[in-house]
Assembly symmetry: C2
Homo-oligomer: 257 residues x 2
Amino acid sequence: MSLKMVQTMSQSDTPTAAVLIIGNEILSGRTPDANLNAIAKKLVGIGIRLAEARIVPDIEDEIVAAVNALRARYTYVLTTGGIGPTHDDITADSIGKAFGVAIVEHPDARARLESHYTSANLTASRLRMARMPEGASLIDNPVSAAPGFRIGNVYVLAGVPNIMAAMLDNVVATLKHGPTIHSVTVSGYVAESVIAEELGAIAAHHPDLDIGSYPWVKNARYGTALVTRGTDQAAVKEAADQIFALVAKHGGEPVIE
Amino acid sequence: MSLKMVQTMSQSDTPTAAVLIIGNEILSGRTPDANLNAIAKKLVGIGIRLAEARIVPDIEDEIVAAVNALRARYTYVLTTGGIGPTHDDITADSIGKAFGVAIVEHPDARARLESHYTSANLTASRLRMARMPEGASLIDNPVSAAPGFRIGNVYVLAGVPNIMAAMLDNVVATLKHGPTIHSVTVSGYVAESVIAEELGAIAAHHPDLDIGSYPWVKNARYGTALVTRGTDQAAVKEAADQIFALVAKHGGEPVIE
């Protein structure tokens, strides 16, 4: 649906990331994922390219295999889910296994749980949330105390969306930012197949830009949103101007969105 | 977030599936994915276990690698996205490359495009939508004519949600159904950490069931939804009754949802 992204992809100064969503509830259809889009927007905002996402069930071998495949390949890996108090929350153990390190009770994580819960309420189940791979550092959880953690280039976040979002804000502050990615969307009443050939020519003249074509229907009228993205702001503007003129030429009444 | 699913996972009579979402727009955060949850629900409804999902960009090598990894491992692979008329819609070419077969114009696909468009409107760009891997069979598209296709155990669907859904209905009618998966949800005002230990014991006594624990907040009160799933309806009911009693014991005012 979008013109080749290969060029921006290969820019070596752009950090990359993968998201690993851990949870049977997403794969069973019970719960629609609510985190991927939030993470994608946050990363693009700081110039990090989200290169891949995977969703795996709560099975240790699956989590280990995915973590190891992704952490070897991308600058950063962010996981969501499986760090709660029930004995099936196996993300910490799985990450430890992926890194080949022991699982230990993190003293600072325990201290945070102790100050959040009264001692009568700090059950064995809740204390499980202080178990982390040896050498992990904590990611603050301002919502419900139980922290996430980082080990190597892997950032382990909660699955509950508001907790995930709070943890993510703490994480992105620590990541290497890439060059700002600029974006202009031209939208108009023109079918994508009508402009496909000329659009392809514009894209071919701007190999460093990512130009995407997304059809829509509004009030029974068909149209297309044409998104130009890239790190060179002048080039983005030039391509968007050419696309604007292309849509206008075909009577599409273009607007910049 | 959910008790081990390993047991139902290994049931050899349950067909498995993977979803491969192809599209830069999902990874850039521009568009939230709207297809995965719909596919997951549809598959679980016919007794097929969705075992994994991946989201990859519009890059041929990435698509080829993901298709080959997934089709070797699961009964079925369903892809979404990248089959439109613009020259960046590279799914068909990538699938052909994954299977090591040529891309050809499918005569029946061309005929459908010819009957949908007037000959003046059947541009070269639109004709691209008839290009498919050699040996592919068509998947009907009642919305906008351009068909999806199947090759081997890989089903290639559109990315636009209403077209995807229409194609999916045609596909599921042809898939091998697994045993019906029964599900009972018990919900109550109890924190998951309070019942975690006893819930774990119930799960341990029902190794063939998938018992998931999902915390929620409603009107500033905390609670947990406890989902029991499995192919043995009597066992699902028995476990759900035990969970109901557990929630009641802790004053959680349980209800069956």
